[in-house]
Every structure is written in structure tokens, then in C-alpha cells.
Symmetry: D2
Subunit: 397 residues, 4 copies
């Protein structure tokens, strides 16, 4: 069983922490957790032919520094998990900051993370001669739905059409289809299915034009993503004991809540759909490590952080991420270093997409707590000085 | 001179295009353009110690498939450039789609791209006892500005404080500082300078609290980014001859304009700040290749696409990207495969950040034109079938 | 039958158009259309006691200038209507501008307007100890729904609970209830029903707190209103013959479409949920005249305008208004001048709320077409000069 | 001197509070404060000819119930004011709710309100052949500015062009002009001046098209209004003693802060630019009473509410309203009941626009505190039952 209840703390070398020996020692720990060797992470070249279907005009591989955060303890829909978290990044202090956040989560026992809803939407748009045409087409959808479901069941075993709704805007009709997609993001299956449904509706309703990707929600932050979610919607929460927060970060629960209130005013003023602190950092790093499509980051990083001092004086914190578009099957997830990183998380292959999404939410919560605490304690500049990110300042970074 | 006016088309191998030989052949072409060998892209391990300052708990390197798009012809503030564009991605068809878009741009001669404005903002927040306190502090900023500029000049040669504005929200004061940052993103320099300015203002005004990162605009899509921009604001445009559009994509200028109008209705309905089609795809792939911090993607991918049929019946197109946060100095840009990729673009090191940003805008325009044309011509499903992305459908992708 | 198919054009007096005689002559026409005398509009004082339940600390009545636009020809769910439209305003040129727009609509035969959806939402919020508590509560809603519907049927004959959905944000649960409300806005009925449902859920789920108005969507523009609508969602469209547009406004269909494209770019840049041109003007004026609660204006004015040149070279135009919160029963609608104005529209009392909403959408479409045409023809300054709005310029208006 | 430091509480009649005698008694108090008779409020017909320039096709006057809230004590830029506040509305409980809020403000001594910034923007849009054309035009603005200022000074004594900025979006240029406008909203002056400036720029830069109202910010809620403000930006704050809050509303400061936090989560989720509770209610009622253009409500109602428990356990509260578009000169402000209502506030005519805006912000703060306290104390349904708004429930309201 590759995921025991307790993982060793990650060793650091005082003298040469970025040297091959220190890296190998940590890699070895991760390999034991993964239950497989981590050859490609260790430098073994990836077979270029494995990239077929993932890239054209291949010239080689980009190499990104890969660090481990953790251990992270999180209660998921698949049970309690304790994992090291692989993060690919060039931003100094990012792994350390998330590691500290994971210690905060563990101090209260664990984080708790659950998928709230799963559904990949596609939103084809049909154009008619007038609004009456769009309204007539909308009235046909209910009757066509059973046939659509049947056809889609014939082309894929892994996804299903769960609902079809409509919205009329002038003479345009948005057909809002929602799919389950198994353990893949499933965008290609969904696009193919949306093509099928929208063409069928267009033929039955005399549409002038039919755009499969008509309302393009893909890979962009948007208000609808916050209200309805897309992909996997996840909530993660935890209670951080006051004493642990104080000793690990020198911040108090009350100070964090105060700081967060000012953040909320700032976000309101900005007009953003990302009410988290550094979700983009943690998500980008883990998604890159695990072969995810990081172009989904603007959608994924959308969500809410909430903090409160509870009756015992401890800190209650939650992160809500309504639109995680990630998968443990398909894309680059089964190849090279990505497959190794997913194995480190115990999330490689079918059956693990929900757990992976739940772990991502816990990573975000860890990162946000740690960074807010750093800001609260004025540690920000200092931490980067020590870890090197600020040293190139004189050189123009 | 590594950037000749005309680059060879990228060769493809019918039988084994992802095999080592085909990859090496293209890599060789890129190396000639770069003027340096591309060892790490070709598989030579990166020295782990080079990652010091970029990551903690290093265990190795993530390897991402790296393809070449192009050639791209674009008129920049540094003159006409013709470049191959390195893109790291797992999304099949993405490189091919951008390559086709670059052919569209070249068909009209070239794209034209220019930085409109440069300025990295930091927005510390000060909290006072009441609104009167915040208003008094706001009135002090003009007087303190010269001293702030002087102090900042002492801590960095590469950046400068260009303006300081204020906004009062209740008893909170947002101090909106704008910096030039040379060829780096410059976030650490700017954070340090913002710390200096906001502490000075806090001391002079009796602030109750001072949060350096109080209004956190970093790495999140937001409405203010669209209005004011952040980092480098770039506009890129081009005219695509009708005949070239038709022969390369089977779409007409009018069909693209029609489709784009439906997209605009969809975006309005969504409430998004990203009015481009696939900016997240192209930006993520080039940023990853070039050692940029891809966590900035949600900010960078914000912007506008505009299309029009001109008097001659050709297609005029523009992409406006108000918030490109990229650099050719600092972060991961000078190391390993990232340095090699920047060299391929002729943008490695000091003096190239504006050109790099201008090239990125051209990449976005290329990608958007190509994808809209694909959607317009119903080529979408077909293209992915051929290139492999849709083939895993039966396997649940 | 008070609503004949053809109404006389409104007479104007060259010499003294604001004199009592001209006003009385038009009022007489309106009275004939209304089928009742228009005493209060003509100056008869309203009984102060009739304001009981509508205002406290009454000191009298505010008097607002009331003009007539029209006739407006619009095909509604209740059949073809031709009506004069009462508008209360202080903005010179507003009534004239809408009247011209109504002539444009009539030139193509009529506008067509239909309610797409009806549903007043209430969004109580429950707070729990943790996210698990919120998720458990969400799972109870389906089981409680039948009992809620039964209880609500006991307290009102005019409304019904149509759906109950949930959204978890951290440890908060938003309970999204949707009601039909007959011909009233129904906000008080809905608030009382929401109180009942949310208290029931709170009791069954051990909520820590329960806020009936927890997610306050009332009377504010918001992104959700655009996606989901609230109150009555209406679409109205029309085709304006090119010749009529040209002769009435000196603008061509193509010029209007061009101008509208620039508007759309501007709106995208602004981050607005109101993509109409002057919906706030027309809605405010008719709502004021008809005793509606004009504080709903920010919600009501949300929506889309769309324009296109059709194959015949004529102008197709549509206005989509997803959130009209209006009623012909309750509030101030049955009293004094408001009842008289609703009678002029043939919309007084039960059975007319949908028609009233459909007429409002047509008023918005008329106003938008007329103003865009004015801007397109450079008539803006001139029109106001002639009608007097710009004359006070030298006096500081 | 019509505005003494202490006004009498408003008398209420137990038996017949909406009868003519009770109304007259309160009107008499208001008349003493106004220093003029309130004839038209009392029922005297307004001269229809006075509506010339404000409406076309006049048929009479709409009559809206007018109540008095207050007294309101507020420290303004013109000194301490104590005023009754006229509110025109059909929403029962609204005046009472605001009156209670004003008692809360007075309990802490007074509210403090100040204009932060004044500037009416106009945003003409110019269209060029390409982005280079737009950039060239942007570079000309600085040189043309002095001539524009001179010309504008010749056409108005009441306004001035304070700044001109530019934004390039593809081949479009937004010219952002800001004006001071004296005590009027000044929209017509500004439109005329914007016409002058934009035509001048168009002629000097070879623009293809020039739309004076190209980026139409008028009368719509938008993200830019929140960041930059428009018209008069005002902040108002107050401290409410804990004991007064408890005795007047049965709510504690802590309970209000808790409730407000849930509101903030709800607003974030909605995607709104109105973070106040019932600003639309209070603003609409006073604007209607005072002859303002209520179509500006969606812009005016934008803003922030902030609450905090201070060190003494009292409630600190602020309302920030960045975009108040109101005037005491021009429009309907000098006529009939509007002039009488502005006189009640001591704000009739030149020299009073800032004070009027500051009073409006205090009204909003009063309304928000009172309504939040009502929600907090579960008084909401009860208050409406007592005052009558909920009684028509059985009748379908």
C-alpha cells in the first residue's frame, strides 16, 4: 500500500540542498510513496514518440524545476490521504510556502475536502431568423434529449449527457449541455457530443447557423463559472489551532481575519472572480507537474477563501473552487514525469480524478493560509530574501 | 545575425514525425535561428543547482513536450522579426493551429505589434481610524513622492516609481504605485519598493495598519486590469487577404466576422474579462517554454480580439493584451531550456522584454484567427481527429 | 374596447405645446384609450390616505412631468396592442426620442415581444460549523420541498414555489428559491415564504445562523441576473425597413450596426451587465408613471441589444431584458396617477403583468434604436438644442 | 437661518397618520426648515409650462407619495447640517427604516460626509484604419489639450476640462475626458465639449469615424465606475454606540458585522458592483423627491458598505459612493415640488451640489444600517406587517 498514514518529513541539506544527492534522497522518499521508480523526474529522457497526440513539430522537452511540498494530510472522498505534493515552478519560496501551509493544516488534524458537483458544460449557439425561431427551438430540447443521450452513449463509455438547458438572447439560442466525463477532463468527448446535439437541434428547428463553440466558456475566468461551476466543484476546510498558527507563522487567527477583510474590500474593488489569495500559484505548479492543461488555470483559479475565528479562538478556514478542470486520464497525464507525479499523489489513472481535485483544493487552502500569515507577520520580504527570490533584485528581477 | 529575414518552413516526417530524427532536424533549424546549441531541449540534464532560488525541496525536473510553431513574421518595436515559436504543451493540435495562424499573418505581409504602456502596479492598503484619516493620508502622498523616488533609486538600478495615486474606501486607503521594471517582471523589486513607500506613508499619517499586498491584483483576472493594464500593454494587428484566408482555412472574412459577433454575445453573457478566443492556450505554451511564471496566466490572458472586413474585402484583425507580465531577465528565464527557448525567439536577456511581449501578442492573434477559422469551417473535430487529440475518446479523454 | 387597432398621432401645438390646452387635448386622447377619466394626471389631488402602506411621515406628493410617447405597436402574448406610453421624466428629448423609436418599430409593422421566463428568486443563506454541515443541509432540500410547497400554498393564492436549488460556499449554504408571483412583483410574499423555507431547513440541519436575505440580489445589477434572469425575462424584436430608417433618422442599417459594434467594445471594456443603450431612461420613465418601484431599475436595466443588417438590407434589432421586476397589482400600481397610467397602457390590475413587461421591452427597443440613430446621424446635440435641454448650457446645466 | 442645529422630531398621529391634518402638520415643520412655503407638495398644481425643456407631449403630472425621514445630523463640507429628508416612494417601511437609521447616526453625534473627488467623464471613441493610427492619435492629445481648454472656456462658465487620457483597443481609441461641472450634473455641457474635442482630434489624426458617445458609461452600473468614480465620489462614516444600536434595533455591533460578512460572500458570488445593502432604495426616493434624473440610479447606487466593531465595542460604519450624478442646478431641480424638496434639505440652487451629495451618502448609510439591523433582529417581516406592506400578501402583492 503506497499511501501509509504517516510520511516522513522531507529532508533538507544545509550545505547543498539543490545538489544531486539531496534531490535524490527526497526523490527516493517520493518513489516509496509512489510505489514506482521516478526515472524521468530523475533525468531519464522521455521517449519523444510518447508525445504523439500531445504536440506537433516536436523538438524536445522543456525542463521545469520540480520540488516537493508536504506531507499534506487531507480527508478525501476516497479516505484519509497523506501525500507529498509535486510542484513544478520557477518561483522561489512557493514550495516552501505551501509546505508551511500543509503543516498548518496538519496541526489541526487534517484538511477535509469534497467534490460538490461534477459536470463539464458545453454551450453551442444557434442563430435564427428572429427571436420567435429561437424560442421555438428552445421548446424542442426536452423532446430531443432522450435521443441525444442514446446517441452519446453509443460514442463513449466514459461520459454522459446529464442536462440540457436553453437561454434565448435575441435571435440566438444558447444550448447549455452538461456532461459527466469520468476521470478525464473530457473536453473532446464533450465537444463531439455537443456537435451531435446542436446539429440535431439545428436540423429540427431550421437554424440559420450553428456554432458548436458558440458561447466559449473555455479557459477564461468568468462570472458564470463562479455561480454554476464547471468541471469539478470542490470545497475544502480545516481548523488551525491558535497555538500552531502562532508558533508556525507568528500570526494570530484574529490578525489573519482582519487582513482577509481588507483583501475582500480590495477584491470587490477590482471586480475579480478569484477571491482566493494565491490559488494561481499552487494550482499552476501542481497542474504542471501532473501533466494537466495549464491553460485552464484562469477557470480553475476562480473561487472563494473564507476565514473565521471560532468559539475556541482557533482559525476556521475554507477554500471553495467551483471550476477545477483536471483529470487523471487523457491529455499528458499518463506519460513521462506527469505519470510519475500523479503516482506520488496516489492519483494515477482511472478512479482518481475526484481525489486529485480534492487534493488540489487542499493545496490551495494551504497556500492561502501560509501566504496570508506571511503577509500578516511581515515575513514576506524576509522569506524571499532568505530563499533567494529577492536576491537578484540588484540584477533587475 | 541569428534572425534572418526568412526562415525555412519546418520540416515534417510523414512516417515518424515524433521520432528522434525528425525532432533533431527541427531542433537543428531552431539552433541556427537561436545562434546557440539547444542541448537541454535535446535532453541534456539541467544542473539541479541552477534551480537554486527557483524552487525548494527539488527532486528533479518535470519534462513537457516542446514543439515549434512558425515561422512568425511580426513587425516589432525592435524591427521586423521572423522567428520560430517554441511552445510547451500537452494539447494536441495547439502547435499546428498556431502555425496555421502564423501563415495567415504572413500572408498579409506580417503582423504589427507594439507595447502601448509599461507599468507594474502595487497596491498597498492602509487602514485608519476613520475616513478622515484616510483622506488626510491621501493628501500627503504628493509631498512624499520625491523622497520615495530617491530611496527607490538607491535600492535598484532597474526600476523606478512612475506614479502614486490614491483611492479612499471607507477608512481604507489604497495606494496605487506604478513602476517601470526594466526587462524583468520586477515583482520583488516592486514589492520591496511598495513596502518602503507604504511604511513611510503609514508613519507619516498614523495608520492603524498597513498591508503591503493589501489590494492583491496579482495573478487574477480582474476588471481593473482591463481598464488600466498592468505590466506591458500590447496591441497587435494584421490584415489577412481574403484569398489566403480562404485557401488556408476555407473560411471567408465575412464568416469569421459573423462568428465573432456570436462569440461577443456569449462573452457578454458570461461576464468575462477575456474577450480573446484561445489566448490562454498560446500564452501558456510560450510562457512555459520560456521560463515565465505561468501563474500570471489569468492576468495575461485578459484582452480583446477585434475583426472586421475592410473595404477590399480582406480581414482586418487585432488583439489587445493590456496585462502581459513577462520578462527576459530574472525568474527562470536565464536557465536551462528556458534560456534556449528565449534564444530561439531572439529574446534572451536584457533589452528584449518589449519585443518578447510583442511576439506574444502576435502569437495570440495567430491562435485566435486559426481557431475561429477552424470553428467557422467545421474543421474543429476533424483537425483533432487527424492529429490525435480526439482518438482517445473511446478511452475516456 | 379601449385598445383599438389604430391610435391617432399625438397632436402638438406649435405655439404653446406645454400650455394647459395642448396638454388637455392629448390627455383626452389618452383617456379615450384608457377608457377612464385621467383626473389625477390632470391635477386632481390624490387622497393622502390612499398612500397608507406606501409611505410613512407623508407630507404630500411629488409631482413629476408626465408626457406621452407613441403610439407603440407591439405584438404581445395577449395579442397585438397599440398604445400611448406614459413617461414621467425631467429629461428633455426623452419622450420625443422614444416616440421616434416607436415610429421606427411601426414602420416594419410592429415589434414582437414575449416573456421567456417568470420567476422571482430569493436566496436565504444558512451558516454551519463547517462545509460538511452545509453539504448535509443541501442534501435535505429535495426531501423538504413538498412540505414547503404545501405550506406556501396555505399562505398565498397568488404565488408558488417552483424550484429550490443549493450552492455551498465554504460553510455557507445559499438556498436558491424561485417563485411565481402572479401579477405582482411579489417580493413580500416571496420573502415570507423564503423565511418559512429557510427556517425549516435551519431547524432540520442544525444551522448556526440563518439569514433570510442572506444573498441579497435585490435592486442591484449583477452578473447572475444576466445569466439566470429574475422576475420576468423578456425578448422583443423587430425589423426596420431601410427606407423608413433613412427617412426618419437619416441613418442607414449599416451605419447603426457599425456604431453598435463600437459600443460593444466600449461595454466590454467597462465591465457592465447593461448592454443596452438607454434602457435606464425608458424604463425609469414608464416605471415612475406606472407606480412601479424604481429602485429595481439597476436590475431591470440589465440586458442585451443586438442589431444586424438582414438579407434584404433592412435592420433586424432585438432587446433582451432578463430581469424585469414589475407588477400590475400591489405596490403603488392601483392608486392615483399610477392606476391611470396603467389604464392608458391597457394594463391595469390582474392579468396584465406579462403584457406590461412585454410593452416595457418594446419601449426599451424603441429608445435604443432612436438614440443610436441620433448618435449615428450626429443629431444628438442638435435634437437637444431644439427641444431645450441644451439651452441652459450657458446657465450651467 | 433656515437650518438650525436642532430639529423637532416628526410628529405622528396615532389615529390617522395619513390624513390631511397629520400631513399638514409635518409639512409645516418642513416649511419652517426650508424657509419657504411648500405649496406644490401640499397639492397646488405645478404650471405645465414650467415643464418646457423637461418633457415632450405633456399630459399632466405623475403624483408620488412624499414622506419625510429624519432629522438627519451630518457633518458636511459646508458645516454641520440637521435636516429632514424628503423621500418619494411607494414602498412601505422605507421612510421609517431610513428614519431609524438616522436616529442611529445621531446617537453617535452625527455622520461625517465628504466629497472625495468631482469629475464628469465623457468617453468619445475614434476609429482608425489600424492600431498604428490609433496610437498616433493618442500621441497628439497632450498637444491639443490647451486649445481644447480654451475653446471650452468660451462656451461655458460653469465647467472645465480637467484631464484627457487615452486608451487604445485595436484600431479604436477611447478619449477619456474629465470635466468639472459646477452644481449641475452637466451632462449636456460635457457632451458638447466632448464633441468639440473629439472632432478636433479626429480632424488632426485622420480618424475614419468619431463617436461622441462611443464608450457609453451613462446610467449603467460598471466596473470602471467603481475603480475611477464619476460625478461626485463621496465617503460617509459614523460610529454607533453599542447601547444605542441595541436599544433602537435590538441588534449588537457584532451581530451586524457577522451578517455583513455573509452579505459580502453573497455579493462576491453575484458579481455585483453594488456592495451596499439598500442604496438603490434611499437614493431613488430622495432623487425622485429632488427632481434628479433617476435613470442615473444604476451608476449612483454603486459602492461599498463597511462595518467594524471598534475597540470600545461600538459599531464603526462607512458608505463609499464613487459615482453620484446629482445636481442642484439644471434638469428638474429648480421647479415645482423638486425645488421645494431641495429647499427642505437647504440645498436649492447654486453652491449646494457637494452638500447635497454628502447628504445623499448619509441617507444611504442610515438606510443600510437600519435594514441590516432589521435583518439581524428578524424584524423584517414584522416591520412590514405593522406598516402595511405585507398586508396585501393575501391579495397577491
Amino acid at each position: 500500500m503506497p499511501h501509509p498514514d504517516a510520511l516522513a518529513p522531507l529532508p533538507r541539506s544545509k550545505d547543498d540542498d539543490h545538489g544531486p544527492a539531496a534531490a535524490a534522497q527526497r526523490r527516493e522518499l517520493a518513489a516509496r510513496a509512489a510505489g514506482i521508480a521516478l526515472e524521468h523526474i530523475g533525468g531519464a529522457p522521455v521517449d519523444p514518440r510518447s508525445a504523439r497526440g500531445n504536440v506537433e513539430n516536436l523538438i524536445g522537452f522543456a525542463q521545469l524545476p520540480l520540488g516537493l511540498a508536504g506531507p499534506l494530510r487531507v480527508d478525501t472522498s476516497a479516505g484519509l490521504r497523506e501525500v507529498y505534493v509535486p510542484m513544478a515552478t520557477n518561483e522561489g519560496a512557493l514550495v516552501a510556502s505551501h509546505s508551511r501551509g500543509m503543516r498548518l493544516l496538519a496541526a489541526g488534524g487534517m484538511a477535509r475536502s469534497r467534490v460538490l458537483h461534477e459536470g463539464l458544460t458545453q454551450n453551442p449557439m444557434l442563430v435564427f431568423d428572429d427571436a420567435a425561431g429561437a424560442m421555438r427551438a428552445a421548446s424542442l430540447v426536452g423532446g430531443l434529449l432522450p435521443a441525444w443521450r442514446e446517441r452519446i452513449a453509443q460514442i463513449t463509455r466514459h461520459g454522459a449527457l446529464t442536462s440540457a438547458r436553453t437561454q434565448v438572447i435575441g435571435r440566438r439560442l444558447i444550448l447549455r449541455l452538461e456532461f459527466t466525463t469520468g476521470d478525464a477532463i473530457g473536453i473532446n468527448m464533450a465537444a463531439q457530443a455537443a456537435d451531435l446535439c446542436s446539429r440535431s437541434l439545428a436540423e429540427n428547428s431550421g437554424a440559420r447557423a450553428c456554432y458548436v463553440h458558440g458561447q466559449d466558456v473555455e479557459k477564461r475566468a468568468n462570472a458564470r463559472a463562479l455561480v454554476e461551476g464547471r468541471g469539478r466543484s470542490v470545497v475544502c476546510d480545516a481548523t488551525i489551532p491558535r497555538a500552531a498558527l502562532l508558533s508556525l507563522t507568528r500570526a494570530t487567527p484574529q490578525a489573519l481575519v482582519e487582513l482577509h477583510r481588507s483583501y475582500a474590500v480590495g477584491f470587490a474593488h477590482l471586480g475579480t472572480q478569484n477571491w482566493l489569495v494565491q490559488s494561481a500559484n499552487g494550482l499552476a505548479a501542481v497542474m504542471l507537474a501532473c501533466g494537466q492543461d495549464v491553460a485552464y488555470l484562469p477557470e480553475c483559479a476562480t473561487g472563494f477563501l473564507d476565514l473565521e475565528v471560532d468559539a475556541a479562538g482557533d482559525l476556521y478556514a475554507s477554500a471553495t473552487l467551483p471550476s477545477l478542470l483536471v483529470g487523471t486520464v487523457g491529455g499528458g497525464s499518463s506519460k513521462g514525469t506527469a505519470a510519475e507525479c500523479l503516482a506520488i499523489l496516489g492519483c494515477a489513472g482511472p478512479g482518481h480524478a475526484n481525489t486529485f481535485a480534492e487534493i488540489l483544493a487542499a493545496v490551495v487552502l494551504a497556500g492561502d493560509l501560509s501566504l496570508l500569515a506571511a503577509f500578516s507577520s511581515d515575513e514576506f520580504v524576509a522569506a524571499h530574501e532568505r530563499l533567494g527570490r529577492n536576491r537578484p533584485l540588484a540584477r533587475g528581477d
